[in-house]
Symmetry: C2
Subunit: 466 residues, 2 copies
């Protein structure tokens, strides 16, 4: 493709995206397609000769678009948001155009330094503990997802408790790790990947608000030590996936200090709320944590993938993940004066993800980001009030932030039928969970384009169906 | 940012990228900056109010650009290539604009189905074993990197040999894994992550061409079994990082069949050569492998990240990595008729990476891709001839494909000084390795924009310095 053709097609794609996002409400939010509907339209064999870009874009319209569930629709209230935004898209575009690798400082100094710098900005924006700044013994890094960040934290914890013996000799089946019954599936996945094993993952009881009970944690730790187990790692969740429950980080952190356990805090979705001083209570006690992560690719308008992962002791992380073959040796690394982010993550290669986060923070400014977060939380709280006032629906728990969990008073069958009606209508998209063994609709309010009228329309539709 | 502003800034970024790539040779290939040069120019605090996009793009020019090592320069011959191309950039742009999540089939059917379909195309393009097609018991998936693919393969192997006991109870320190002394650092990293441990990684001897010696593998396996170890996994490399050595996959595969070991084949850079029938000998015996990966983001003009990972038995992979919490349950998953790619990888979330690969294959066509690969290999072979004819340099080994390893006849000091001169000149960029304990310059020829004149200019510069 010539540069001229790229300019022309590039403009077409930019316009395509603007048209798509401006008119996204025309599409049913959930794709109505059945399995194999997309594949059935694709040629069985790859083309022998090159095809025109116009044809590809036509196929995107005709084959791909109907097969999408539109995560950027303002009527998407499922899962957690996975936001993109115009400045973020432009950052990602530039990253693809530059095509640099940031595995080492030396392979593109700006790629590493901008990332370190913007993550220090994030510490300031969220008022995170100063121990997470690169100017301390800690620092931040961009990971693809909270799953990967949690795995890295668990690995560092594993090595710390075994005095690096695991790295040398392999796990031995005695390590145990702890999180709440309401935790994200990624903690269990990390425990299996790290060779710790599902049987050595303890799911601690939760209270009436679905938050971890510190007393139960303490009790389980005691029982495990008595049985000869070696506790290594605790993951507290700030904003669980099912109900947005906030684990009591301070009390859990104090136990971890006493017991010398690595505390990781997973705030994948909810961490963004700490942009606003009035919501920073969710991080109370965070200075007791060894590591922390949240995802700007969820609620901070930065397209996937962008998880910010911070550690208090970067040496512990690097010791766990560093391997330096001859072909990566260089004078900057040997000087000890630079960060090589390959030692902070599972993969070796990495793209220049800091650009899009830099663009988002600069475009919105701290003030602009706070405004959107406040609007989403306020809409969720108002939505919760509507549910409280309704005689057809009931709230499962008071929503701490921007996720509302509700059910129809007639029970699971009716609740499930309502959710299905809404998703089948294409007018909005919702997902479910189970809390106290009951089927629950989750209303997750945090889309880049979600405003009052979309939340009101959802409530009208729910009410009409009830 | 309004849609109109996005259209305007989007055009500016498209033009910026076209200008950058068309004039990329104006920049020194290696960034001349020193540690902290970039950070020193960035404001200490994040902005309270939003800034203009024009200002951001100015900062990219003034602060970021001088801090880059230009991987897309035709004069970049370091490491392995990390290619981008115009159609790939447009695919990545569209992915960022759509902002859909492909963790489940249900979260965007087209995202999953296009990926499965294009990976079946790749099986055909590279003439890979039919067992890797989705229509068999196997299938393909896009991972971020070969590091992650190898880790997934090792985890599936770990579970197979322990009858899933590791997932339940944790690794026990008896498993052993095997690869060559010339292997990539990611195999060691995977062994430590999986809790197998460095001490249980066996680095098998290599022959004069730096390829694994099957007899040594057999001997080591025998000794390990005699010592009560449980061999689990072998990784063969097709195109090692240091010298592009091709391990004898067929002989290694036969041993793995006899010994019932999982064979993973890592062809991260070199796999792309199999686009051309005349180079498919590198994959001889691949039908004996349990898994295989190569990176279109290296030599197939698809921007990072895009690793194609194939398995013969997808059930083994899914069994290892699947966790299904209530909030991800859906009727499509329960029907068993769809692929949920979250069960094929470490993270949960995933972006729509198949779009860019689809665009690249369709834009170039099989014929166009083969043409570029043939050109790079032919240039490397010619370059090797120039080295053979030179009385100042010597070849370390006959280059199998597109990587040439050479040294100055006066030894390490002189070779190292020449490499430094070239990188400091900014006219080209090279990296080194050690082979047989000697310092060696690697000339990796595979850039999207690298043509005869760039390779000739590099040789002139090397000759002048020698």
């Amino acid at each position: 493709m010539s540069a001229e053709a790229f300019r022309q097609h590039g403009r077409a794609v930019i316009d395509w995206i603007a048209d798509y996002l401006e008119h996204i409400e025309q599409h049913p939010v959930q794709s109505p397609l059945k399995p194999n509907d997309v594949r059935a339209q694709l040629p069985a064999h790859p083309p022998e000769r090159g095809e025109s870009f116009e044809q590809m874009l036509r196929d995107v319209n005709e084959i791909i678009l109907p097969g999408l569930t539109h995560w950027q629709s303002p009527n998407f209230f499922g899962y957690f948001p996975a936001n993109t935004s115009y400045p973020s898209i432009l950052g990602e575009l530039l990253t693809a155009g530059l095509g640099v690798q940031g595995m080492l400082w030396a392979t593109s100094p700006a790629c590493t330094e901008l990332e370190t710098h913007v993550l220090d900005w994030v510490v300031e924006l969220l008022d995170l503990p100063r121990e997470f700044r690169s100017t301390s013994a800690g620092g931040g890094v961009i990971q693809d997802t909270a799953s990967s960040a949690t795995l890295c934290a668990m690995l560092a914890a594993r090595e710390r408790v075994t005095g690096n013996a695991t790295n040398e000799r392999g796990a031995n089946g005695t390590l145990t790790v702890y999180t709440s019954q309401q935790t994200h599936s990624s903690i269990e996945k990390a425990a299996t990947i790290a060779g710790i094993g599902r049987a050595n993952l303890r799911l601690i009881d939760v209270d009436d608000h679905f938050a971890m009970k510190p007393a139960s944690l303490r009790q389980t730790l005691r029982a495990d030590r008595a049985a000869g187990k070696v506790p290594a790692f605790v993951c507290a969740t700030v904003g669980t996936t099912s109900s947005n429950a906030i684990d009591p980080v301070r009390e859990i952190g104090e136990i971890c200090r006493e017991e010398q356990l690595w505390l990781h805090v997973d705030a994948a979705m909810s961490g963004t709320a700490a942009l606003c001083p009035e919501f920073r209570h969710i991080h109370d006690g965070l200075e007791l944590a060894d590591s922390y992560c949240f995802n700007p690719h969820k609620w901070m308008f930065t397209n996937f993938d962008c998880d910010c992962f911070f550690v208090r002791d970067r040496a512990a992380l690097v010791r766990t993940l560093s391997i330096l073959p001859e072909y990566l040796r260089n004078t900057a690394t040997e000087s000890g004066n630079v960060i090589d982010y390959r030692d902070w993550q599972i993969p070796l290669g990495r793209r220049f993800r800091a650009l899009k986060l830099w663009f988002v923070i600069r475009h919105y400014g701290a003030e602009g980001l706070r405004g959107l977060v406040r609007e989403h939380i306020s809409l969720a709280q108002e939505f919760a009030d509507w549910v409280r006032e309704s005689d057809r629906f009931e709230l499962i728990t008071d929503p701490p932030l921007n996720l509302v969990c509700l059910r129809h008073i007639e029970g699971d069958g009716r609740t499930q039928a309502i959710l299905k009606s809404i998703n089948d209508s294409g007018r909005a998209f919702l997902t479910h969970t189970k809390l106290n063994d009951r089927y629950v609709i989750r209303v997750s309010i945090g889309g880049t384009r979600t405003r009052r009228q979309h939340v009101e329309a959802l409530w009208r539709q729910l009410r009409d169906l009830a």
